[in-house]
Symmetry: C2
Subunit: 195 residues, 2 copies
């Protein structure tokens, strides 16, 4: 393939990716001024991974985790965000996200499309140490934002501490147990002092 | 240091970082609906680096470049963004950014503060292959956004193609010459068809 058409495919992907900045999440940013979008969320969780790398299992390769987190939400361009505390049909959402991955990663040159898709599939499967740590990180960041913004998506969805333990805690504790112990204490304190 | 106070410092940094989502840049997002913020910009340029890694010099370590790009704009929380086509006092801005780096990286546990500060200093100095490639990537992304949005910050600042060559082209070509050749042709075509 000619150099210029290779680059044209890479830029088609990178320019399409900009649409992730228009996908809004249930969590507000820290000052509660507006919802967080999935583009800035992807930056923030990659930074979380970089900072919290020392709390991962020793076999975790943080560079791969960061790449997974940079890619993990791109499918939302077609499939939308599904708030963890909201109602959605998991099987239907999974099918939508697979179609989105086909289309969006398919914009890239073939070898890179395969490489990125494999990282996304690995993250979604949540079976390897890298994916398990990445999923923990993705679940931790909204806890801090919800506390900073005075309740955020917990308030909107009337979420209880037991629901956070069940929906979020199990996943965070699986990949980053020391981080969960730390943030769980803060979340409990937040709930006690809000009531 | 106790585990919990170590994590408290890491979270103080990560929660402070959220303020980067409120720093607005001169470049609009693709649909010209609003200015891009520096948090989502940081995600987008990290993704650019990941996609365009094959166009870097062979000695470039892309994982370090991605980390630099995730950190590179954090100083704007205190020092603000300085549009490349706008007027500003470079020495004064540099002094502000160094103070910002002291404060913001200083929130982290000591060893991590040093590690992150060293990455940021290396990026700013633009002397190592990793920093040179990272700087190229940071300059390429706004070109695509300005074209997508119909002119963006070029229109706002009445920028000419010669000014783009001088202010942006030299820096992009230094770290990613094949990428510059490709995007330069698109930018020229954009200017010709706009006139
Ligand atoms: Ca998500």
């Amino acid at each position: 393939m000619k150099h210029s058409s290779f680059l044209a495919q890479q830029f088609a992907f990178l320019e399409e990716a900009d649409r992730l900045k228009n996908i809004l999440r249930a969590t507000p940013i820290h000052d509660d001024s507006r919802p967080e979008n999935s583009g800035e969320h992807s930056w923030h969780v990659a930074l979380y991974a970089m900072v919290l790398a020392g709390h991962a299992a020793p076999e975790v390769r943080i560079d791969r985790v960061i790449k997974m987190l940079l890619l993990h939400d791109l499918v939302e361009i077609d499939a939308g965000d599904t708030p963890i505390h909201g109602d959605f049909d998991a099987a239907e959402q999974e099918a939508k996200e697979k179609l989105a991955a086909d289309r969006i990663f398919g914009l890239l040159p073939a070898a890179q499309a395969l490489e990125f898709r494999a990282l996304w599939d690995e993250f979604e499967a949540a079976e390897t140490p890298d994916a398990i740590f990445g999923k923990s990180i993705d679940r931790v960041q909204p806890l801090a934002l919800n506390m900073a913004s005075g309740g955020g998506s917990w308030r909107e969805y009337n979420v209880t501490l037991d629901q956070i333990d069940a929906r979020v805690g199990t996943k965070v504790a699986r990949g980053a147990p020391t981080v969960w112990t730390y943030i769980r204490a803060r979340v409990e304190h937040f709930f006690v002092t809000q009531d």
